[in-house]
Amino acid sequence: MIGSSARRTPLTFVVHLSVLLLVVLWTLPTAGLLISSLRDKDQIAVSGWWTALAPSHQNAVYRAPPPDAQVEENGRHVIRGNVFDGGNGTVSAFGPSVQTPDEFKAGETATLSNGVAMTVAENGDFTISSTEPMKGRRGERIFYTSSVPPQFTLDNYREVLSAQGLGRSFINSLTVAIPSTVIPILIAAFAAYALAWMKFPGRAILIALVVGLLVVPLQMSLIPLLRLYNDIGAQFGVTPKGYVGIWLAHTGFGLPLAIYLLRNYIAGLPKEIIESARVDGASDFDIFVKIVLPLSFPALASFAIFQFLWTWNDLLVALVFLGSRDDQLVLTGRLVNLLGSRGGNWEILTASAFITIIVPLIVFFSLQRFLVRGLLAGSVKGG
């Protein structure tokens, strides 16, 4: 629009560059997470994810076979082997003690204090030899610095899905999110139609009430509802923490936005359609089911996406109403727990985080159109 003036070229270049910069800034953190989750866990710990394609240097230790394994060759007692056990890698340096893992270059020969000679080749082959037979029950330790070619693996995902309970939490999240998305839609659609097309005293006040409730912070509801649930649980001898409770809670919290979005949309439907149906003698119920509901599909889809993302990503409501026992945790709750207990294990955290965000990302990229439309219609709501 503005660029139609004469100074187009340098200006456009700056625009391209700054947008590129912003896009990189915005995607880099997520990219780091994804790449790290696919890397070998030893490599994550010693090198940044941006070096994932370069070989990584690491210090390691290998225990050679015990002296039982020695064989006599040309008067020397020799133990042979490979520090990578046949895997890939390149030894750049080695040493006999933990303080000096890079005392000798690959291929050189080190003489240990007990007269044993040790040499490690670049490909990891080592030879330990001595003129006297070697004694003892344990083998020599070889400290070496190696560069390992980049390794990508799905092991991290296998680990978190089974051992860390992510699989269980994934099902819990689905169990919470699907009914919490579907139930409010029907309730809200009827209410939205009444608020849009039916005339009754108090309508304006109800609409104002819905708009007001849009921004009521969740924090106001938590304590009273927790008390209410506990009372009901005690009264009827059932556990106050369960799926039905959380579905209803999400329904209640989602309703203001649902009614607001749907009312705006339904009120915008052409008046003629509804009037002519009325003239033909259709009741409001018929009009709603046969005309309004099918026409409102885009708005219903927008809200469904919102509500699904919000219930899937929610932590607070799940923590309060579902409890924090191991088999009750949803994905977000599990991730917070892992942050506490496995804070330094980035292979576990990155893979877990990616599992928690993959479903919303799929929903986001496949249904972005509806999401944008919903945002534009309902931007009064505070998320």
Binding site: F190, V211, M220, R227, F285, L316, L361, V380
Partner: protein
Amino acid sequence: MQQLLFALFTMIVGVAACAAYFIVSNWILDRIFPSKSRSGAVASRNLRITNMIRPWLFLAPALLALTVYLLYPVIESAWLSFHGKDGRQFVGLGNYRWMINDGEFRQSILNNFLWLLIVPAAATFFGLIVAALTDRIWWGNIAKSLIFMPMAISFVGASVIWKFVYDYRAEGTEQIGILNAIVTWFGGAPEAWITLPFWNNIFLMVILIWIQTGFAMVILSAALRGIPEETIEAAVIDGASGLQIFFKIMIPQIWGTIAVVWTTITILVLKVFDIVLAMTNGQWNTQVLANLMFNWMFRGGGDFGRGATIAMIIMMLVIPIMIWNIRNAAKEMEGR
């Protein structure tokens, strides 16, 4: 798997019950006050009665849910804030007095104000820039989509992503967090960012800005497109520069939308909880109201009075925006 089936089953039962309620209640209403195949006077009287009752049949489930889950709790929270730990003993303004003298609360409210100052402004600013710039390049939609993406990520997921960015290793070892890697590459000393008082607040805010910029961008982008071409063409003919057009012609026309974006993010900021819980749990002077409230809900067996009092503070901060929204909605209604 069994659990999923249970969920699906309950969902179908719930939806069926809901549908049954609407169908049956409407059918009963039509049976009691039939308007078809009746003589004129009776029919019109019955029609009037059904038209009076039916809206409330449509609204009943929604009103019930809104009352139980939002209206009643607001009143109950206000009531609880004047009561003690278990909600029974009346303590007057005791909770509020405790709050004002509590160091942690003052820290939280200070931090919340910082969040309120910085996050909505920064997210709106970046959103506006991206919206304005991407409108003019051919790969703008791809760029927008990528910047919009964090919207879909949970606050907890985003916290893990950024904790990895801020990761700290002792000086001299290889840094695996990209921020420290960049700092050391330029010759600086690595820093444990999220334990660095005051600045760590900013590092937590970055996460929310990162998430919300996409939201601001989408709304503002639509608003920019809605600006009538003629106003811009007129400015071009008058010889205005690109920047002049942007600041003097375009911005004033989308001022209302900017306000909506700003207030929406403001409300979100007031409720920010997950990020603080996941990143620091309020340590190193990063406490905020929502997390403090959650703490008191369970701390020492739970202090409902104090928790409700903190919730009331959040509510009071929201009320001005709520009134503004209602007035705007009312104005819009009149226009219809």
